[in-house]
Amino acid sequence: MNDVVIEAKNLKKYYKMGETIVKALRGANIKIKKGSFVFIVGPSGSGKSTLMHLLGALDHPTGGSVKMDGKEISKMDDWELSMIRRNKVGFIFQTFNLVPSLTALDNVKLPLLTDKRISDEELTARAIKLLKVVGLGHRIYHTPNELSGGERQRVAIARALINNPEIILADEPTGELDSKTGAEIFELMRKMNKEEGKTFIIVTHDTEYIKHNDTVYHIKDGVIKETSKRELEKNGMKGKKEIT
């Protein structure tokens, strides 16, 4: 049991949209092992992002439970959740979400900037090291506007790693990138997974980056089913993005 890092049971999330209630998740179950490289695929509106937010301690579920390292996080208050995010989770977003006025270095430092447990020198050193790891050692003082899309996502990956999290959640990390750059980003994430043992949970449309022995969860109508690349191909989910 110890190697399970996140476990969601009977997870429900309902949204109110005007008069109607949208059931984004209606009893999803998922178990993610430490150090795994997991894909979550599914059509638009299937609840992928919702699941991601719940697993990443960004939101409260309507029902069910989410355990991180065996600890129930679904009932935590906002402050406790922000502590979880700060200490255990790293995020990579489709639109990078870098602060445009800050340099790459400062963007990477951002998550721990208000953390008093780490000195600025230490934080800067760690951020520079991470930027080198993602191949941006020569672009430390550039602002996002001066970087290409791929470079921006590399900065975002470095930022996701700054707090040395166990889990990295990536929401469509290659959605804004061309396929060559996208492949490079996946290569980098796989490297982090292998070398640093980080758990990666990746929500994506792009099945082309999934390898045959990767764990793949298919989410449809608010429920999760474990599947594989082969099966996805059989069902016709192949190639580039679906129409959203």
């Binding site: 922000s82 979880i84 700060r86 200490n87 790293g90 977003f93 979400n97 951002l110 208000t114 707090n163």
Partner: protein
């Protein structure tokens, strides 16, 4: 920021103007010694007409040391041309003052607290002598011993030049008899008396005594006059503080508006910060710090500009605007408070940002 800077400038310039007027008025009045006696029904001293008989009557009152007759008027021509004075207090006119040369040595202190800088005061033998204010000396190029021709076509010898005064403006002092003629007063008529007592503590009592004995007279001590002006200043103060408060409110709203705009523009960034683990407290601190910084920087800029404006104004105003350390301190405090207050609402708005919405929203 602009609203704040303008607000601070408004506050400093307005308050320094009141402080300046107040300090110069009370400086002058405070140094005056004695009781001003004038006609009860007259609106003000220059409109009062009294018989010079009162000189003796007033001096007969027990405790009175001396009654000094005074005449006020206007100088119309200097050296054959229209007299032109400086300073808005005398509205470009030149004030004529008549004093009795035989009695002036009895006066304690200077008239209106303004001393003679160059030359001397009147002595008994002075007939066509004049003491002039500094600006007249400068503008008409007069020195001690120069002749100055007034309305009556007579030439007066300049015997004294007054210290520069921000309050009095342009003034020419001549012997009483000459002033009477220049001001077209009847023979044996003066405008007012300055009554000085043997014992300064008696002033109030003697002023009351004069009024009781001669109901046709008004008697007011210099200190009462100061109090009266201070009452008027108090109203001015209040008015200026109201103005200042309004500008502070405008400045506060300006900060709220500016901060809110900058916060809303960065909704996504704050959402990201929240997503990566920033607490609401961290964000709250960040916004309040930012708005305090606006307050501090705006305050400093406002103070610097105000000091410059006051410096410039002081070259043109008849009185000095006075900037005190307290005023600068208050203005600075003001702007910091405006910063804090202006940051509270935007900061609260930031804590309400939903990270999921913020990240998703393009």
């Amino acid at each position: 920021m602009l609203a704040l800077i303008v607000g601070i400038i408004t506050i400093i310039v307005l308050v320094s103007a009141t402080l300046g007027v107040k300090s110069s008025v009370s400086n002058v009045m405070g140094q005056m010694k004695g009781i001003i006696v004038y006609e009860h029904d007259a609106a003000d001293v220059p409109y009062s007409h009294l018989s010079s008989d009162y000189e003796e009557k007033l001096e007969d009152i027990r405790g009175v040391r001396v009654a000094l007759p005074e005449i006020y008027g206007m100088v119309r021509t200097i050296d054959g041309k229209k007299a032109e004075g400086t300073g808005s207090f005398t509205a470009g006119m030149v004030m004529l003052v008549g004093l009795d040369p035989k009695k002036e040595r009895m006066r304690q202190g200077d008239m209106y607290g303004i001393g003679v800088e160059e030359g001397r005061k009147f002595i008994s033998s002075d007939k066509y002598a004049a003491i002039i204010s500094k600006d007249i000396a400068d503008n008409y190029k007069k020195n001690i011993g120069s002749k100055i021709e007034l309305d009556d076509g007579k030439k007066y010898t300049v015997i004294g030049i007054l210290e520069e005064s921000s309050v009095l403006g342009s003034i020419i002092v001549v012997p009483l008899d000459r002033a009477r003629e220049l001001a077209h007063l009847k023979e044996d008529e003066v405008n007012s008396f300055t009554v000085q007592t043997k014992n300064p503590e008696d002033e109030k009592r003697i002023a009351t005594l004069i009024k009781m004995k001669y109901p046709e007279l008004e008697a007011i001590t210099a200190s009462q006059a100061v109090e009266e002006t201070e009452d008027i200043m108090g109203i001015m103060d209040l008015f200026f503080y109201v103005m200042a408060s309004i500008s502070l409110i405008i400045a506060g709203i300006g900060i709220v508006n500016a901060m809110l705009m900058s916060v809303l523009e960065r909704t996504k960034e704050f959402g990201v910060l929240k997503a990566v683990g920033w607490e609401n407290d961290d964000l709250l601190k960040l916004i309040i710090e930012e708005s305090i910084l606006i307050g501090v920087v705006g305050g400093i800029i406002g103070i610097i500009i105000s000091v410059a404006i006051v410096e410039i104004l002081n070259n043109y105003m008849p009185f000095s605007l006075l900037i005190t350390k307290e005023l600068i301190g208050e203005a600075f405090l003001f702007s910091v408070i405006a910063g804090i207050v202006g940051g509270i609402y935007p900061a609260w708005r930031v804590t309400k940002i939903d990270p999921i919405q913020a990240i998703r929203g393009e």
